[in-house]
């Protein structure tokens, strides 16, 4: 209670606070480092892998990992390492795109529902109930069956499927904050509703969204890879990780390496994102609770 003043940790600039703590935590630093590599692979993959990810070379087919081909070659003789590096672009693009869509639309819906209450809230909530009654990936599949496969369509499908989880959190948060002590106190100062919402409700209601988005990014990447595995995403010969695994499934008996590296890339990326996201979340919750 009144024992000791809490250590100086502010509500402001949580991200910078969090970045400053990186060097003291080896797991966190490793995760950040790995994501930095993924970022380079996304922006300019040629820096990391010089071999052509698309061009086939039947003479070089199914070579095990060697000095020349670090991750071996696939059934068409393409360098797996190069394909994995170039594949980062697809996973990150689809994941970030879908989450950005879901977070934006979800935050908006959640805010509108949480602030309006009454009929509008009821309609939005019910709509979210209905959308989330369809399992995520199945909903995405339904959407794709209308739009057809492809990168953009996949982003759209996944993004829509992820809207409810953002909308729900923002709505709940808006509700809690609109009833909080400091909003009630601010009402007694005679501030107008608009000022109240902009000054005290909005910043807190969406404070968690970037964290949820980070954590959701991992889920989105796995979902995207899964749908691509089924052939719904980027079409061959694009080196998308999920699609690569679908091909590898057929050559597993003779060339295990084709089936290992893309999966490892997905898993490590998602682990790294989760480690960062969760650390951020813990810091955020620690700051908020007493």
């Amino acid at each position: 209670m009144s024992a000791l003043p809490a250590p100086a940790e502010h509500e402001t600039a949580p991200a910078s606070q969090f970045l400053r703590r990186l060097p003291t935590n080896p797991g966190l630093a490793l995760a950040a480092l790995f994501l930095a590599v993924i970022a380079i692979a996304t922006v300019s993959p040629a820096l990391l892998a010089t071999a052509d990810p698309i061009a086939a070379d039947p003479l070089q087919a199914q070579l095990p990992p060697s000095w020349e081909h670090w991750f071996g070659t696939d059934h068409l003789g393409r360098d797996v390492f190069s394909r994995v590096v170039h594949g980062a672009r697809y996973s990150i693009l689809i994941g970030v795109g879908a989450v950005a869509l879901a977070a934006t639309a979800g935050s908006f819906l959640g805010l509108v529902a949480g602030l309006s209450r009454g009929l509008i809230d009821e309609i939005i909530t019910r709509l979210l109930d209905v959308v989330s009654a369809f399992p995520d990936l199945l909903l995405a599949l339904v959407l794709i069956s209308f739009t057809g496969p492809g990168t953009t369509n996949l982003i759209f499908a996944l993004g829509v499927a992820f809207i409810p989880r953002f909308a729900r959190v923002v709505r709940a948060q808006t509700f809690v904050i609109a009833r909080s002590g400091y909003v009630e106190q601010a009402r007694t100062f005679g501030l107008s509703r608009t000022v109240l919402v902009l000054r005290h409700v909005l910043p807190h209601a969406v404070a968690q969204v970037p964290i949820l988005a980070t954590i959701g990014l991992g889920t989105a990447i796995i979902g995207a890879a899964g749908l691509s595995f089924l052939g719904m995403g980027p079409q061959p010969p694009a080196p998308e990780w999920g699609a690569m695994l679908a091909e590898a499934r057929n050559y597993l008996r003779v060339a295990w390496w084709i089936g290992v590296w893309p999966g490892l890339a997905i898993t490590l990326t998602v682990i790294a994102i989760s480690v960062l996201g969760r650390r951020w979340q813990t810091a955020f919750e620690g700051r908020r609770s007493e």
Partner: protein
């Protein structure tokens, strides 16, 4: 405070917010749950009807998919969907047909959709049930044995993080390579024997079990911090008994809110897992239908899974009332 944002995937709170469970008597609460579930289902069916109307292109070509469009087929579709009638009666007849379990005809596969779905339901049910079993056992064991213990907790946490981050289809590929191709312990594909179920169930169940484990452990640890845990220990109760008899039930409360997510993930995951292991089932049917633009089949599977989802969520909501007596509003305090 806000939702159970306990882990990556479970951040979406339960399908029905449990605070709505208060008020009224027990029977009325249960009736309310069921009514609300039916409303959602009705809306889901309506949504699928609306999406057909709003989708670009005319309905005939949507339904016919990549099949050749002949006047005979077109006439059959027009008759089946009543396309010459007004929209409202189209909608009502669509509702009526679905109420009777008639999902129309797949013009690509030249078969009744309901029959197709029914014939494929059993293998999927086997897979999802087995995976659910794997998930719950894994989660329970991992949570009860490691909650509140520093080092085991760290190890289990790292394992769970890895499992949660692993796509189930890759886990499936690794398991296949290891146990089928290399050790030759389990069959590579198919649904002939029980042993063919083991690897798919593990691939689908373990990543989900990791989430269940995280949520259970967190709930358990929170319960063990509550003042009542101190009271119980002051009676001379042992730590394990406290966990099992008191803690687990508290931990089950947040875990139960995972059900909606769990059902959804099992159904979604089944689609992919069936593909990896070459198992028959609804998932395979769905994937082929999506790729072949066979909309009647896709919509039927979607509505069916919404039905399963809503039914199970409703059941679990009722279970929640049994688990947490504080929500049963027949008490004097709550009535106050």
């Amino acid at each position: 405070m806000d939702s159970q944002n306990t882990s990556a995937i479970s951040s979406a709170p339960t399908f029905f917010a449990s605070h709505r469970l208060r008020r009224n008597g027990l029977a009325a609460q249960i009736a309310g749950r069921i009514g609300s579930g039916m409303l959602v289902l009705w809306a889901a069916v309506t949504l699928s009807f609306v999406s057909l109307q709003l989708a670009p292109g005319d309905i005939v070509s949507l339904l016919i998919g990549e099949q050749l469009r002949t006047p005979e087929v077109e006439a059959a579709i027009r008759a089946e969907w009543g396309l010459d009638e007004p929209l409202l009666s189209q909608y009502l007849s669509y509702l009526t047909r679905i109420l009777h379990g008639d999902f129309g005809r797949s013009y690509i596969l030249q078969t009744e959709v309901s029959q197709l779905v029914l014939s494929q339901i059993l293998p999927t049910l086997k897979l999802t049930t087995a995976a659910l079993f794997v998930a719950i056992i894994f989660g329970l064991v991992s949570a009860v044995l490691t909650a509140g213990r520093r080092i085991p907790r760290g190890i289990a946490g790292a394992l769970e993080l890895t499992l949660v981050s692993t796509p189930s289809f890759w886990l499936g590929i690794l398991l296949l390579y290891l146990f089928s191709f290399t050790l030759k312990l389990f069959p590579v594909s198919g649904d002939r024997s029980f042993s063919a179920l083991v690897l798919p169930a593990l691939a689908l169940g373990l990543p989900l079990g990791a989430v269940v484990g995280q949520v259970l452990r967190q709930g358990l640890e929170r319960a063990l911090e509550e003042p009542f845990a101190l009271t119980v220990r002051s009676w001379g109760t042992s730590g394990l008994v406290l966990r099992l008899r008191h803690g687990l039930r508290h931990a089950a409360l947040p875990a139960v809110t995972l059900t909606g997510w769990l059902v959804g993930s099992l159904l979604s995951g089944a689609v992919i897992t069936e593909s990896v292991f070459g198992r028959p089932g609804l998932g395979r049917v769905t994937v082929e239908a999506v790729l072949g633009h066979d909309l009647p089949v896709v919509l039927a599977v979607a509505i069916l899974s919404a039905f399963v989802y809503v039914t199970l969520s409703t059941l679990v909501d009722v279970l929640y009332l049994w688990l947490d007596p504080r929500l049963r509003s027949d008490s004097p305090e709550a009535a106050r």
